[in-house]
Structure formats: C-alpha cells, structure tokens
Amino acid sequence: MSTLLDKIALQCKVTAVQPNWAEENLQVIRTLMERAGLYRRAMAPVMTFTGVVGLTAGAVGRLASVASLAGFLGIWLSAALIAGGGSFLIIRRQALTAGEAFWTPPTRRVVFALLQPFAAAALFTLPFLCLLVGKGGELLSVPFAASLWLGFYGCGLNSAGQFISHGVRLLGWVFVIVGAANLHLWQTLTMVHLGPLPLHLDPHVLMGATFGGFHLVAGIYLYFTEKREPTP
C-alpha cells in the first residue's frame, strides 16, 4: 500500500512541476532513437579526400585532352575506385581510433542506401553507352555518361544522407539538378554549336567541378562546422 502511495505521490509531484512531461519524454525518446540510427563518423576528411581526387581526375582528363569514351571511363572509374578505397580507409581508421567496430548498423544502412543508385548507374550506363557508340555517338556518349552518373550519384547521396545529415541530402539534390541541367544545356547548345566544345561543356571539367569541387567545398565547410566526437 505504501508503495502504491509512493508512486502516486511521485506522479503528482511530477505532474505538478511539469504538466507535459509524458509528451516531452516521448519527444526525447523519438530524438534519441533518430540520433542512435545516424551515422556518426566525421565526414569532413572523406569529403575533402573525394574532392581532391575528383579535381585531380578532372584536371588530368582536361589537360590530357582525353575525349574517347574508353579514356573517360578509365579516368573516372579509377577516380571512383581511389575515392571509394580512400574513404573506406579513412572511416576504418576513425573506427579504430575510437575503439569501435567498423561494420556497425548505421554503416550498413549508409552502404545499402548507396548500393542501389550506384548499381543503377552502372546498369543504366552500359547498355545506353553501347547503343550510342554503336550508332557512332562517341561524342554524344561521354557527356551523357557524365550527366547520368551525376544524377545517380546525387540519388545515392540523398539516400545515404537520410542516415547522415541534412547537408548530405542537400548535396545529393545539387548533384541531381546539375546533372540534369548539364544534359539539357549540352543537348541544346550542341544543336547549334560547331567547333571544339567550350570549357564548361567539357565532361572532364563538369565532373571535376562537381565530383571534385562540390565535395571539396563540403569537406572544408564540414571541417569548420562538424561536431568532433571525443576519442578515448
């Protein structure tokens, strides 16, 4: 009986002090559950590294005047592999430094969120490029591949961003919009344009400025704003 009265007294005290405590508790639970599912590795080094790789690949492609489809694929698939491998090592190092597991549920969620858009980019690119090349569309296929990849990469970032941050989701949208806008611009201008492509329509410049430039800007921004997790 005394326990029951204790409980009632406790509730009366609580409700008198804070009438909306139950609602606030529910809100705290919701917030914590959302945060617990988020990916918390520092993104600044990953973004910066990816940005530097992208800018380097763009510069190499532009300076070497690589215009063939094979050359474009070679440069940018290599850049993707280096960026992916480097990001993996950076994140793994962060996990080791913090004494935590690498393959955590939030990491799994981020990887699986990226997987489908990346696979879609590969699957959509191959047959379409074969079709264009078969029709003698080498000139057409490279800018198309660049725009397609930017679009799918943006979708991947947006999906993964659901478990990372609002900024990453936003960056995903920027990639999608720039990819689509470039395709539209390229298609419109090349209808009336003769001679060498202007700088801003060069696929290497486009990829370097977006894949490289956007990531680098995001990396620098995160370097100054990202909350640093205490390490043991």
């Binding site: 009438p19 139950a22 705290v28 914590l32 043991p232």
Partner: protein, 113 residues
C-alpha cells in the same frame, strides 16, 4: 479518470539516463559502450552504473570482446528489454492521450485501500 497508466510506468526505465540508453538501443540493434556514452553525453561511471541497473533488470545484455587487441564492450536490448520499452512507450502515449482529453493531468486516485 484513469490512474492506472501512471502506476504501471516501469521505474527502472523511467529514470532519465536509463530511458536514454533504452531509447538508443531500441533504434540500433547493438551499440558500443563508447558510442552510447558519446551519444548520451554521459560519463563512463554514470553509464556503467545505469548499464548495471538495466542488466540486473534483464533489459540489457552486455558483451565484451576484443577488436584489434582493444577491449570492445557492446550493449544490446534483450527480448524482455524490448518488451518493457514498448510497454513504457505505450503507457506514455496513453498518458498523453489522457492529458489531451482532460486538458490537465488527472488526479490519480488509489484503486483500493
């Protein structure tokens, strides 16, 4: 007016720190000690103390392993912990409903003498 939801609230979970631990573990199937500590901004000692209470209640399972020659303590909700947390959240939702219905908190009346 109903007083039952208040009386059924699990006092083990109701404490702020333990509620945080249960909420985080309900969202992530398992979580390393350090990650949980950083998420909840607790000290090692505070988290350990709450962890023990939850472990004694059978709500949390603690496993210790080694990763790269460093000890790794991982926490996860047990089946009983999941059930208790679900019940707790359901009770809170019920209390919120009652509050909305009556405008203010009902005065709990003991059911029996």
């Amino acid at each position: 007016m109903k007083a039952e939801p208040f009386l059924q609230l699990d006092r083990v979970i109701h404490e702020k720190g333990r509620l945080g631990i249960m909420s985080a573990l309900a969202a992530a199937s398992e979580m390393p000690f350090t990650e949980l500590r950083d998420l909840l901004q607790m000290t090692d000692g505070n988290l350990t103390s709450h962890m023990r209470t939850l472990q004694e209640a059978g709500y949390v399972a603690v496993s210790k392993s080694f990763q790269n020659n460093r000890p790794l303590t991982t926490l996860a909700l047990t089946a009983a912990g999941e059930k208790a947390f679900r019940n707790y959240v359901a009770l809170l939702a019920e209390i919120v409903e009652i509050t909305r219905e009556f405008g203010t908190m009902p005065t709990p009346v003991p059911a029996a003498k």
